[in-house]
């Protein structure tokens, strides 16, 4: 009994370590004063300031555009790639290439793309970030869909072919619906990763536009104000809700799969 109590200590240290900074960000967002360090009283005014900050709103819109665009690319190409790798080839080299963007340091991919865009003289902007985010997001979609593929039975596809359905019909009516939960999970992962991505966007966006993480980064360099806390609190709320909703969805999905 005493020994297992002792084990609780590092666990709670970890939890406090993980959540204390988050709690501070949220608490200071309700500060009526100008400082992010000294609490003067309760106020929602920084949320008002935030709602009228055009730079933040533009950044948010840009981030959503980038995340949506790269998620579409990553989901379509990543799903096809996963099916192709699982069913149409045994090449381990292709496997490695498909997984590479997920393990490569983001900084290396970022400078590689910067060199490439420089070479083909592409003017940097949102679309260069969309293309860049598509690269690593695709690797994650492909990995998630492949796990799903590994757990699905090929006999349904064979039955469909034996009953005279062509490969296209079989793919659309049998394979795809079976993979749907995996594709959805992969797409959500791609979207979330893109929303938060900083390094690659920082290198490939050029000087004219900013995504939200870049906006926050430059706000912090300019000085810390409770406005950043308010923005942080909102982002925390959004991502916490998304993760918990995602968790519930996978649970429901698993329960259905077991029926």
């Amino acid at each position: 009994m005493r020994r297992s109590r002792l084990l609780h200590v590092p666990f709670w240290v970890t939890i406090v370590f993980l959540y204390a900074p988050i709690a501070v960000v949220v608490a200071m967002s309700f500060n009526s004063g100008k400082s992010a360090y000294t609490y003067e009283g309760f106020s929602l005014k920084w949320y008002g300031v935030l709602a009228h900050d055009q730079r933040v709103l533009d950044g948010l819109l840009n981030t959503l555009i980038v995340a949506a665009g790269s998620t579409v690319i990553a989901t379509v190409l990543g799903t096809l790639l996963a099916v192709g790798l699982a069913r149409h080839t045994r090449s381990r080299a292709l496997d490695a290439i498909a997984l590479m963007p997920a393990v490569l340091p983001d900084l290396v991919l970022a400078i590689g793309l910067l060199l490439f865009y420089g070479l083909i003289q592409l003017t940097l902007g949102l679309y260069s970030v969309v293309l860049a985010h598509g690269v690593f997001a695709m690797a994650f979609v492909a990995a998630v869909v492949r796990t799903r593929l590994a757990n699905t039975d090929t006999s349904l596809e064979e039955a469909s072919r034996d009953l005279g359905a062509g490969p296209v019909t079989t793919f659309l009516k049998v394979t795809l619906p079976q993979l749907a939960p995996g594709i959805l999970a992969g797409a959500m992962l791609a979207f979330t990763l893109s929303l938060d991505e900083f390094v690659i966007a920082f290198f490939t966006i050029g000087n004219l536009q900013q995504t939200l993480p870049i906006v926050i980064y430059s706000m912090i360099r300019f000085g810390v104000t409770p406005e950043i806390n308010a923005l942080g609190a909102i982002l925390l709320l959004v991502s916490f809700t998304a993760v918990i909703a995602g968790q519930r969805m996978t649970k429901i999905g698993e329960a259905r799969a077991q029926d």
Partner: protein
């Protein structure tokens, strides 16, 4: 007989090839253009001279490699290794007992605890680092708390310690998850057998649990070390640019000094270190 099987074998083979092509080519084409070509560029720019305003002059040189051997840059590489190693050790020390406890919780609590560990990981990275600036800064909360105790103020921000704290904070979940997976998988009967044979709790841990979870330990360490070693955002935000890591150098060479070939050489050094580690990990994992 099914219609597909009555077709001649060659038609079937063509069809299969076509299937492979349809599924594989779009994704692979994308990866060739936007992953392999850019990486090949990084690799080849190392051998060229810098252009005056960024870009390159296509004249062969090995100067970028010899510059890497400059003690100044070797020291930065060494310091990056040191910071990443320290981060990994702390994350392991904190992560192993945490994962161990979670693995032994009842099923519902397991999920809750795992979500609690992973949740901060899904929130905005820059905001999480901002939180540490508020906590550690001169007029920040930790110093205010210490002041009320009659201590400080201490210089907590903009040093190596702050970088390590930020890195551990960012990548701790990546340590806990593989450890949890490895510990979870262990057969509890092994521990029982060890206890029945008279081994103390610590001996059981040292001789049974730990050796069997080595692959999980290695994966966790790699997951923490890799993003720590190549990081430039955390050293910049929490290190105040005083302690420079190899990521900061790369960033400066590309975006400020505009020396793309030398920046590429640094990136190559970064990748080389990581490849060596990956190979070492695979080698140890195979023997374990």
């Amino acid at each position: 007989m099914s219609p597909a099987r009555t077709r001649p074998a060659t038609a079937l083979r063509v069809r299969r090839r076509l299937g492979a092509f349809v599924f594989l080519s779009p994704g692979l084409a994308y990866l060739v253009v936007l992953l392999l070509v850019p990486l090949a560029l990084v690799l080849s720019y190392v051998f060229f001279q810098r252009g005056r305003f960024g870009g390159v002059v296509y004249e062969y040189t090995t100067e970028n490699f010899s510059r890497l051997m400059d003690p100044l840059y070797l020291r930065v590489l060494g310091e990056s290794l040191q910071i990443a190693a320290l981060t990994t050790v702390i994350a392991l020390a904190l992560g192993y007992p945490t994962a161990y406890l979670i693995a032994r919780l009842p099923r519902t609590w397991k999920t809750v605890a795992l979500v609690a560990i992973v949740l901060p990981f899904w929130t905005n990275f820059i905001i999480r680092m901002y939180a540490w600036i508020i906590l550690l800064n001169g007029p920040g909360l930790i110093n205010s708390a210490l002041k009320s105790l009659g201590l400080g103020p201490f210089e907590l921000l903009y040093n190596k310690g702050a970088i390590v704290v930020g890195l551990v904070y960012s990548y701790l979940p990546l340590m806990v998850l593989p450890l949890y997976a490895a510990i979870e998988k262990l057969d509890p009967q092994l521990r029982e057998a060890s206890a029945n044979l008279g081994a103390s709790g610590f001996t059981t841990f040292r001789k049974v649990t730990l050796p069997l979870t080595v692959p999980g330990v290695l994966t966790g360490c790699l997951f923490v070390f890799v993003p720590s070693f190549g990081n430039f955002v955390i050293p910049e935000m929490l290190g105040g640019g005083k302690s420079v890591m190899v990521g900061n150098l790369i960033r400066t060479e590309f975006l400020q000094a505009r020396d793309w070939p030398f920046g590429s050489a640094l990136a190559l050094a970064l990748v080389a270190v990581l490849v060596v580690l990956l190979l070492a990990q695979a080698w140890v994992a195979r023997r374990a």
